[in-house]
């Protein structure tokens, strides 16, 4: 049985679009500090396209939807984050097989496959002050929570908590990948925009699931 059904997947993607638009200025301001002040615009543009495509995806299996989202992000985000989020969703999609939605097991696999794809495409590891610093702990937390037998809301709570901690940890890190790396030591003290958008993306899933099942 799917813990997150296909409709909820669509709702999640729509919530991502809303989150990116809501936090557009914040993401851009973070990027202004260490990069080129476009991350908010890039993410908002990309997820806006995704949102526009969702109607056409109604009723489709989650895996297919996520694959289409990957292509949309790849062709509309631009910059470094475009191909990285594109790879994330592409490999995440491949981890989802069921016709009805995503199980918690698949959720953990998705997050692992996604972050591994980002690492490979970006030739980066944790600790380099990138989105990986939010995505990797989130994937690890998902795996742990699932093997602890937690339910979907509890798994998502762990994911969000881990992503948040990872995101906040990037403040202390020195960037060694991406545009922020040109700032060297000066990058320390600023939170990474990509880690921040990753956190909002995962948080959006938690949000729509808790909205449906308020505790």
């Amino acid at each position: 049985m799917a813990d997150i059904n296909n409709d909820q997947v669509l709702a999640w993607l729509s919530a991502c679009a809303e989150a990116m638009t809501e936090h557009k200025q914040e993401l851009t301001d973070l990027d202004a500090a260490t990069g080129d002040a476009d991350h908010g615009n890039n993410m908002a543009r990309g997820f806006d396209k995704v949102q526009g495509s969702l109607e056409g995806h109604a009723g489709k299996p989650a895996g297919d939807v996520l694959k289409a989202v990957a292509m949309t992000l790849m062709s509309s985000v631009g910059g470094a984050s475009g191909p990285l989020y594109g790879s994330y969703f592409m490999k995440a999609a491949a981890a989802v097989q069921g016709p009805d939605g995503i199980s918690t097991d698949e959720l953990a696999d998705m997050l692992r496959a996604g972050v591994d794809a980002v690492k490979q495409r970006g030739r980066a590891e944790t600790g380099e002050k990138t989105m990986i610093d939010a995505l990797e702990p989130a994937a690890a937390a998902a795996k742990q929570a699932v093997s602890d037998g937690k339910d979907v809301l509890a798994v998502l709570e762990d994911i969000v908590t881990a992503a948040k901690a990872g995101m906040e940890y990037t403040v202390e890190l020195k960037a060694t990948k991406g545009r922020a790396s040109y700032q060297g030591e000066k990058s320390i003290g600023h939170q990474d925009p990509g880690a921040t958008s990753s956190y909002y993306m995962l948080h959006a899933l938690y949000d729509i699931m808790t909205a449906e099942f308020p505790s």
């Binding site: 080129d36 002040a37 790396s181």
Partner: protein
């Protein structure tokens, strides 16, 4: 923000429309964005294609045409273009002899062009990608995304475009591009920032008496922010750093068409020295008029002459800009007779034209 624009979201589309109207020898696709030769594809010729964020005009769209680029993919301003653009542009420009992507070394450009390379390969089109990373202002390259691609791009696009027109095959074009990159070094400086339309405020702030040495073409920070200096001092400093920069090494990924995968390779810069003949670019960041560039060229020529280095060819003007930023960059490319022949070969693009 005082710019000659309408709505921020329409800037790129309208500029491309204007460019296509002004240059009927080009054709512009608006969805996705790319520019090709109206008379293309040129059958039997390697399609040399470049692209990158917009805001650096005339690069790259202004270099599409006979003897230079077969296509260009403009991204949003200061944001890499996307793989779908590159794929469509490549398919439109491919003349049966393969596609060479010339990629400036920025994470975004690299990742998007790598994705496009893989997609193009899957479509059965022979493809190669060569990185350009000539900005010596990036010193701590081991702990960064590496040197950035700047002015050498213009010169490499011209020379490799001429080689492609002369019949070089894909691997020859790629190897020429790679060699040229190892013979190219650049450095830039800014007097003022620029304003990205979508942001509406200056990318960085320089005080009234300050300049930034080693700036990148998107306003990436340079080596040092210093009080204003006379042009001779700044030019001498930058020229000396360029001439004395030796041994830069980087690991690049090359596409292995047989294996259908990336192979890593280490490449080391070719040093400059007495007796070398250079192609020199003295480039405006966009808001600096050509008159001031001639003062730069004067000092550059003096410093080179003192070191027994000849400036065999030159370009002085706005060739790779950062919107309306004031400042300049210097690029030196070590030439050979072959390279000069390709340089002198006819070229007919909106921004570079001679011999035709």
């Amino acid at each position: 923000m005082k710019k000659l624009i309408n709505a921020v979201d329409d800037v790129l589309t309208e500029q491309l429309q204007g460019m296509a109207l002004a240059h009927p020898e080009l054709s512009a696709s608006l969805d996705p964005f790319y520019i090709t030769r109206a008379d293309g594809p040129t059958q039997g010729e390697v399609a040399v294609i470049s692209g990158g964020g917009s805001g650096h005009e005339p690069m790259h769209g202004g270099y599409v045409g006979q003897g230079m680029l077969a296509a260009a993919c403009p991204g949003q301003i200061f944001t890499s273009p996307t793989p779908d653009q590159m794929l469509e542009a490549a398919k439109a420009a491919h003349g049966g002899a393969g596609v060479l992507f010339l990629v400036k070394n920025y994470t975004g450009d690299v990742l998007n062009f790598e994705t496009a390379t893989e997609l193009l390969h899957m479509e059965g089109i022979p493809v190669q990608a060569v990185l350009i990373d000539d900005d010596i202002a990036v010193k701590d390259s081991l702990h960064t995304a590496g040197r950035r691609g700047v002015g050498a791009t213009v010169i490499i696009e011209k020379i490799v475009g001429a080689a492609a027109a002369s019949g070089y095959d894909l691997d020859q074009c790629a190897s020429l591009a790679r060699n040229l990159n190892l013979r190219s070094r650049s450095m830039g400086m800014a007097l003022t920032s620029c304003i990205v339309p979508a942001n509406g405020k200056p990318t960085f702030n320089l005080a009234d008496n300050e300049m930034e040495i080693g700036i990148g073409i998107h306003g990436e920070p340079g080596q040092e922010r210093i009080p204003w200096q006379p042009v001779d001092e700044v030019t001498a400093r930058m020229t000396t750093e360029i001439l004395e920069d030796v041994g830069y090494s980087r690991t690049v990924r090359e596409w292995d068409r047989d294996a259908g995968d990336w192979q890593e390779r280490e490449l080391i810069d070719d040093p400059f020295g007495e007796g070398d003949k250079m192609i020199a670019l003295v480039n405006s960041m966009g808001g600096t008029p050509v008159s001031e560039l001639y003062a730069v060229y004067r000092k550059l020529a003096q410093v080179c002459e003192e070191r027994g280095i000849a400036l065999a060819r030159n370009l002085v003007g706005p060739y790779i800009t950062s919107l309306e930023m004031q400042g300049f960059s210097i690029t030196l490319v070590k030439a050979s007779d072959d390279i000069l022949n390709f340089w002198d070969a006819p070229v007919h693009t909106p921004a570079l034209r001679w011999g035709v």
